[in-house]
């Protein structure tokens, strides 16, 4: 059955209002502060060690990217920090986006305006995504600026390209968690329950997934110790399970972008015969992109799947509170 009128009329209005709410909320201020302080701390600590490395290696072509990836005890690297903090920001943006409308009893009043439900959900999701993009871009510029100041040299063109690719990956990674948090905000009427559920999933993927993967793999496959093919198959099953986690996908994608000499050896089993005749040295950007294209597609696909589920559930939800 066809309904008349655009499903998206009003989406930009919703988005503008939600964006204003997001950017002005105390919750967001605190998270921004947290993420900037940890980011600055990680980068500042890293720069000392990058200088050391630079002194040793002499001429590293991609010294700038090291700012993002080099950990310095006891602090993890900037990328590791982000892998950890982006989900928190996304969850904070999404966990009460739909159920708060019910709890404030504004839902039926808003939906009685000449808009479709689609507009409300799209508007809310886009505003979350834009907020996320703004925060991460600002952070990215901040870190690059800090790097220029402290290292005293500008990033090269290749480094900027890779850095931007990393930024886009980070936003896509955040979008996965945003979509998930919004899904929970639709499923659970109580904002606290939605937040707990989102954090539970986050904990699962951030801390426990790595431990679970070998367990789950042995449940599915039992490798024959004398058969190389079956062992390879088991490894790839394990990788497949590990890649169900957005954290794994984000980690692999950033690895390839920020570490140009990565050519797949950390992303899966590679036989010696496959490496025969390989030239050492960094890969060009487009080759790194091709290397982790599946990971990027996976992240985007996860966003689409989660959003679609959320969309269907929202459409079927009764408006009456």
């Amino acid at each position: 059955m066809r309904r008349e009128g655009s499903a998206l009329s009003g989406a930009t209005t919703v988005m503008a209002k939600e964006l204003a709410d997001n950017l002005a909320s105390v919750r967001m201020r605190m998270l921004e502060l947290l993420i900037f302080v940890t980011g600055a701390g990680a980068v500042y600590a890293t720069i000392g060690s990058v200088k050391d490395i630079a002194g040793l290696v002499g001429e590293d072509q991609f010294i700038f990217l090291k700012i993002f990836t080099t950990p310095r005890d006891p602090l993890p690297s900037f990328v590791a920090f982000l892998g950890f903090l982006i989900p928190i920001v996304s969850i904070a943006l999404g966990f009460d986006s739909v159920n708060s409308e019910f709890n404030r009893r504004t839902m039926s009043r808003i939906l009685a305006q000449p808009i479709y439900r689609d507009a409300l959900l799209f508007g809310k999701f886009l505003s979350g995504l834009v907020t996320l993009a703004v925060v991460l871009s600002a952070l990215w510029i901040f870190v690059v600026g800090l790097g220029i100041l402290l290292l005293g040299l500008p990033p090269g063109g290749e480094e900027v390209k890779r850095g931007l690719a990393f930024l886009v990956t980070a936003i896509a990674y955040g979008a996965v968690w945003l979509a998930m948090a919004m899904l929970f905000s639709i499923v659970f009427r109580s904002a606290a329950t939605a937040a707990m559920a989102s954090l539970a999933v986050w904990l699962l993927f951030a801390f426990f997934w790595q431990m679970l993967v070998p367990l789950l793999t042995t449940l599915v496959a039992s490798p024959d110790p004398f058969d190389l093919a079956s062992q390879l198959k088991t490894i790839s099953i394990g990788l497949g399970i590990a890649r169900l986690s957005p954290n794994t996908l984000f980690g692999e994608a950033t690895l390839a972008f920020l570490n140009p000499s990565e050519r797949g050896q950390s992303l899966g089993p590679i036989l010696r015969s496959q490496m025969e005749g390989a030239i050492s040295g960094p890969l060009p950007f487009d080759q790194s992109l091709i290397l982790v294209w599946p990971q990027l597609t996976g992240l985007v696909a996860a966003v689409i799947v989660l959003f679609t589920i959320a969309y269907i559930m929202f459409q079927r939800q009764e408006v009456r509170a």
Binding site: R104, S108, Q113, Y116, V319, R320
Partner: protein, 311 residues
Amino acid sequence: MSEPIIQTEGLTKAYGGKIAVDRLDFVVEPGEVFGLLGPNGAGKTTTILMLLGLTEPTSGTARVAGFDPLRQPLEVKRRVGYMPDSVGFYDNLSGITNLRYTAKLAGLDNREADEAIARSLDRVHLSYAGKQAVGSYSRGMRQRLAIAEILMKGASIAILDEPTGGLDPQSTREFLELIRSLKKDGMTILLSSHLLELVQSVCDRVALFNNGRIGLSGRVETLLQDVLGGSHWIRVEATGNDLESAVGRVPGVTRVQRDGNALRVEATSDLRADIARAVVSAGGNLTMIAAGHSSLEDVYTRYFEGVAHAA
């Protein structure tokens, strides 16, 4: 005979196996105040949501302002203002900002919206609080803000769900005055309530709801006539033995009920003199006798009593 502005035919909504609204047929004429009256959970809100296209009917059709809420919900919602049961606003935003948001959703441009907001806030006597955060509003102010929203939208139909729920008597009176003034402007108003007095005082016609069905509908006076048989009721305060049967024997008395120390007598005409005589001749001490008019409450009680007995 004008075209009805709201019309339903066989409108039905079932949640799982439970039927919330059962084959509803009713018509609201333009400019009319129509009351949906019934106990909580009778299906009033579900009916309203179906009229707005916010819930899909299981079967049956509705037409609002000439549009089908199922297929053309945007057209319907452009013409209908809705005030939900215990309406909510964004507490951190001011009254004006809240209205500006809905104005934009309703498709008004900024200048139109500002003018319409100022005008409608003035109309509901909220201009003084327009810049305050809604969090500081009283319940009555929120209800008035919701009416301002309907006015701002330029809606020709207002659907009010339990409009006076939770209001104190003073605010209720002011609110009813507001509803009357909307009617004077030619707005069609559909309101749902379980408060009989409210419905009786502002509605032209009412529909009595029970278990998802309209039991009775019509003009308030006609309903009184139909259900109560045009009866009068008389309150008798007297002491004495077995006065009920003495009064009951008076010709024309249809029903006698004890109500504390008093008797509540229903009769086909004003029989105060005859009843007084009967009480005195039965040896009772008559302290007071007064005539009252039948109210919708009597209809309601009587009707739903009947339904309960039949079930």
